[in-house]
Symmetry: C2
Subunit: 659 residues, 2 copies
């Protein structure tokens, strides 16, 4: 059979029916990342609004559609509407997680061109001939449609071919219903299509999440006692009551004993020192084991369930590096780089040495074995029920590894989220986001002035990078006590909290250090905490009357109650006449939140805010009520220019909701 | 043999020596058009300055190069220098016409990383071990280089391996010459390269040309007599003396007799009417024939030579459409669209009919035959010596045709230039430029206000489209007597002339209508000329004392003498405090031209020009002399702010050269 088919094809005159190259053009498709090399990101329920330049030569009329499909689904089409200047717009909604794709297709619409011309014709002969041209076009549609539709189109075509009465011909030709039917079934002449552009669709938490980080070993009810997963269980209500939905734990694996660091990063550990959770692996196991002092795998799985019962998820820390006594060091010596004396290369930045950490050699001759083992670490914990991973220093591992690893995991587990902890150069952070990380830590931690905040958040929320880079903003982390918080009072902590919680749909904090205003650096010039939990147990008094927990609770409730706070793209800044006052808003339909923050922790600051009424969808000349979700007070504002005065000792900000 | 090789490959452990995916990244390569889908444009002798983001993960040190090659040449490399923020810059010069390409390559530089670390080490053991690491790296370079170089690198490697004296080790390790030698020969670990991006390199006239259009049939010395190529010969000195280097002739082919249009586009021609040169083809021949009234092919070839002898080239008009009596209509009826009554479809825009013109059907079943015939039209005239084509209405033919046709011609004739006469929508004009047209007509013809001119020329000369869109600016054409020139005095013609000649490195005019100030429209509201040469002979009095020829001559001499005027990219606008005064400059090294034009043809306009000293490379606080190339006057200016007053009846502009 096959041979026969081939012969037929060879016998046919090749050029006779070969269509000319496509006449229609599709270009400037947006959104897309590097021509489809990487995916744009969305969460379930969001729209993908697609624009493109679509046209053909001369005055050819074109039509175009967005084609799209979800994971495993068939291609569907959404119409595109002209925006003028050869630009078109269409949209579709992504309704489940996983990999989607879309493409723009454009073709020449001879039917519309025919009808537009027909309507303008005046000579009788001309009209009759044009009607016959239309009859041919309609017959082409009839040949392609269902039998029912065909039975409507064929008589139409026949009348246009045969009718001689001019007035009837004209009326018949302009039949709108039949025209639309013919149009929908017309062959797509000169069809051209863009490449298919990928979309990674995540669950909603990718766009809106509220993180709390704590050290399980510091959760014991008694000071000096090593905390356990059971103690974290006890802590869950506290965390949930503040409104967090992600509880992130530093590594829970066995901690290396060889070259273990002591308190405050001392080179030599003292008896009883607990070591750094990021020095992973000991004779008790490696990346798939649990530090016995914390409990068992079953205890951990119970914790996962208990968190879920409170509407929270546990995010796990993945740090791909090994302590010298990690089992891989003896089981897979080839996964580590050797020095010329045969010893294993530890981490270093000459003259500094980090002899407690062995980096993995991603370029080793057994790179496939190593890469697979690392992927399997994720898969193991996914198996246990973990769905969110905070990845430690991903920027010190090759991009190609992450791209392969995340794709391999999301293929079967599209619900899994990855937070990139890459505090590094912009290009590197952005590439990690492009190649698959769901969320990314940001420079927010160090952006403090009004101008810095406006510039940075405008870049994060309004530039093209928002298609793939989802910011997660933290005022502090166990690694970073930023200078502005060092030895600072709670007023500064409140400012940084309000900014993070209201600027960013994804934000987090390292507690209880944050809510208790922990502010002592290890030494001047260092951003490390003194007596850091990274190297020792700490015991926190959560009942302190000055705890920021109530403010955190109010802010997180506001975030949950207001859809405007749950995404970043609507962020708009409003002018103020005082550089210590920053004003911005977010909006989702009728839900609007307007925030004014006093950036100065020491002085009352007053000034005028010029509200951008258009950004908030407010009419000029109509009064509106703003109600402070923190203070409870309401004001009636009128027009753009309104006076504000904020005392950092009382409240750092107005967080207004608009009625 | 082949089978044996295959068996060997199958037997080898596949993964053992398989390198990991590339670690280095190249992105954001600039310039490029749609990821290399289309070529950027340059002329011989120009530089291509390439920037890219090049980096690897972590703190890996990278190196990168621009690879490039000319037509038929081998790949060469130019070094790239870091600009900070992971951006790199390199450049190369294109030194002959034809298709070039370039690419950016980046790899991990372990040698530099090693040396940087070595310099910072303090422990003796550490230094000795690091020296041995260096010895291994140097040995890798030695293995890849010439025998001479190897004989220098191997001893170096040996010393680093064996030397025990720390001070000597340190000194030896830091040997700069040997280091550079090792670096130049180091294996390119983790190599990554961008795609190859195409460059179309044209001869210089693509960037700098001065066009004059005339109707040969109007060149007879006696009124009412049909001009010939011999008459054009006589006219060459006049055109050359004004400083033009391209003489563009409307179509010179036989003109259709069927449905010929009369004077002023009358539907019916009168006895003796000469018809439109764009209604191509009659029994005397088609696109490869010459209108007998103009002369013979030999006469035309003589004209080509005579023009060349005066430093000019003849540009030929190519209009792919046919009069009803064009030979193709009977020889290739399949190349035209049929109406249902069997007649051939003429051009129309209902209710308007252009029955003297048959469009070609680029989608016909014999499209290959048609497309080849059209390409052969170009090739025929190239054979006769034509090297520049002005293409009539290319936007009414498919893009795919032009892309194929121009590529097919430039493959063997890279010296040929194509000017696109597409007065249409921006996307269409830009696509024609991208797909291969060398130069493009512009909207300059209608841009008159200061703001319009600044916006449009900033787009033309500073946006990314300048990589492929080379503007050619015309104050008038036989099809366009723009409203501002209608019934206007010579002052307005002078303004439009100075603007075109000094804003655009490529400009042209339709003469003698332009230099003689022809300003009568066919009727109010029309941009057609009254008694247009498109439909009848005209006789022009070139000796009129008010002719603009002397001003044209001065401007064209300025353009030839000043390299600053010969390209567009240096164009910079300078502020003025009067909207009737526009100021701008161009610069090439030390050559600088500063132009101030009074846009108001009726009144003296005065005001202050704020010269952007930085754009001109002038020092603040140093006096400079400006000399008016039109008036001859010199002024000493000091600083940015300088007073100007221009009387449109005397001189529309200062065209200053700076000393």
């Amino acid at each position: 059979m096959k041979a026969a088919v081939r012969q037929e094809a060879a016998a046919a005159p090749a050029a006779a029916h070969e269509p000319a190259p496509a006449f229609a053009v599709v270009e400037e498709v947006s959104p897309q990342v590097e021509g489809g090399r990487f995916a744009i990101k969305r969460v379930v329920g969001e729209d993908v609004v697609v624009t493109a330049a679509c046209y053909a030569h001369g005055h050819e009329v074109v039509r175009c559609v967005v084609r799209y499909r979800g994971p495993g689904g068939a291609w569907r089409e959404a119409p595109m509407e002209p925006l003028g200047n050869d630009l078109w717009r269409g949209e579709f909604t992504v309704d489940r997680v996983g990999p989607w794709e879309y493409s723009v297709a454009c073709w020449v619409d001879h039917l519309t061109e025919w009808r537009d011309g027909f309507a303008r014709r005046v000579d009788a002969d001309d009209i009759r001939l044009a009607a016959r041209v239309g009859a041919e076009l309609i017959a082409r549609s009839a040949a392609l449609c269902s039998r029912d539709d065909c039975e409507r189109l064929e008589p139409w075509s026949r009348i246009l071919r045969e009718e001689h009465d001019l007035e009837r011909l004209r009326l018949t030709a302009m039949d709108e219903t039949l025209f639309q039917l013919a149009l929908a079934n017309a062959p797509r002449d000169g069809l051209s299509a863009s490449p298919a552009y990928p979309v990674t669709v995540d669950r909603e938490r990718a766009r809106f999440s509220t993180w709390y980080e704590l050290f399980p070993r510091s959760c014991a009810s008694k000071a000096g006692v090593h905390g356990t997963f059971a103690d974290v269980d006890e802590r869950l209500d506290y965390v949930a009551s503040m409104g967090f939905d992600v509880l992130y734990l530093p590594p829970i694996h066995p901690i290396g004993r060889e070259k273990r660091k002591g308190k405050n990063n001392a080179t030599v550990a003292q008896e009883g020192d607990v070591g750094s959770p990021w020095a992973i692996g000991s004779k008790e196991g490696g990346h798939s084991a649990i530090l016995p002092e914390l409990g068992t795998l079953n205890d951990f799985k119970h914790l996962l369930m208990a968190a879920r019962a409170r509407g929270m998820e546990i995010a796990m820390d993945i740090a791909f590096q090994c302590a010298p006594d990690h089992p891989w060091v003896t089981e897979h010596p080839g996964w580590f780089r050797k020095r010329p004396d045969g010893s294993i290369q530890y981490a270093e930045n000459p003259p500094k040495k980090y002899q407690d950490i062995y980096p993995l050699d991603f370029d080793s001759s057994d790179w496939r074995g190593l890469w697979s083992a690392l992927r399997d670490v994720f898969l193991f914990w996914i198996e246990q029920g973990v769905c969110i991973f905070r990845v430690d220093n991903p920027h010190t591992k090759p991009f190609a590894f992450w791209e392969w690893c995340i794709a391999a995991i999301k293929r079967d587990h599209p619900e899994v989220l990855f937070l990139s902890e890459a505090f590094t150069r912009p290009h590197v952070m952005h590439r990690l986001a492009r190649l698959g990380f769901t969320q990314s830590y940001t420079y927010y931690t160090w952006r403090t002035s009004k101008q810095e905040i406006i510039e940075y958040f405008t870049e994060l929320t309004q530039s093209a990078s928002r298609e793939y880079f989802r910011p997660n903003c933290w005022p502090n982390t166990p690694d970073i006590l930023p200078y502005h918080l060092q030895n600072a009072g709670l007023a500064m902590f409140r400012i940084r909290l309000v900014l993070a919680a209201t600027l960013a749909a994804n934000y987090g904090m390292y507690g209880p250090a944050f809510e208790l205003g922990e502010n002592r650096p290890r030494e001047p010039g260092s951003e490390e905490y003194l007596d850091s939990e990274k190297y020792q147990l700490r015991h926190w008094d959560l009942q302190r009357p000055d705890s920021l927990a109530p403010l955190i609770t109010r802010l997180n409730r506001l975030r949950r109650e207001h859809p405007a706070m749950q995404s970043d793209w609507s962020l708009a800044f409003h002018a103020t006449d005082n550089d210590a006052l920053i004003a911005y808003s977010k909006r989702q339909g009728d839900d609007r939140v307007l925030v004014v923050v006093n950036l100065d922790p020491h002085h009352i600051q007053s000034g005028f805010v010029t509200v951008d009424l258009a950004a908030l969808g407010l009419d000029v000349g109509v009064a509106y009520e703003v109600r402070d979700a923190l203070g409870g007070t309401s004001y009636t504002w009128y027009g753009g220019r309104n006076f504000v005065s904020l005392d950092p000792q009382r409240a750092p900000a107005h967080v207004f909701t608009l009625a």
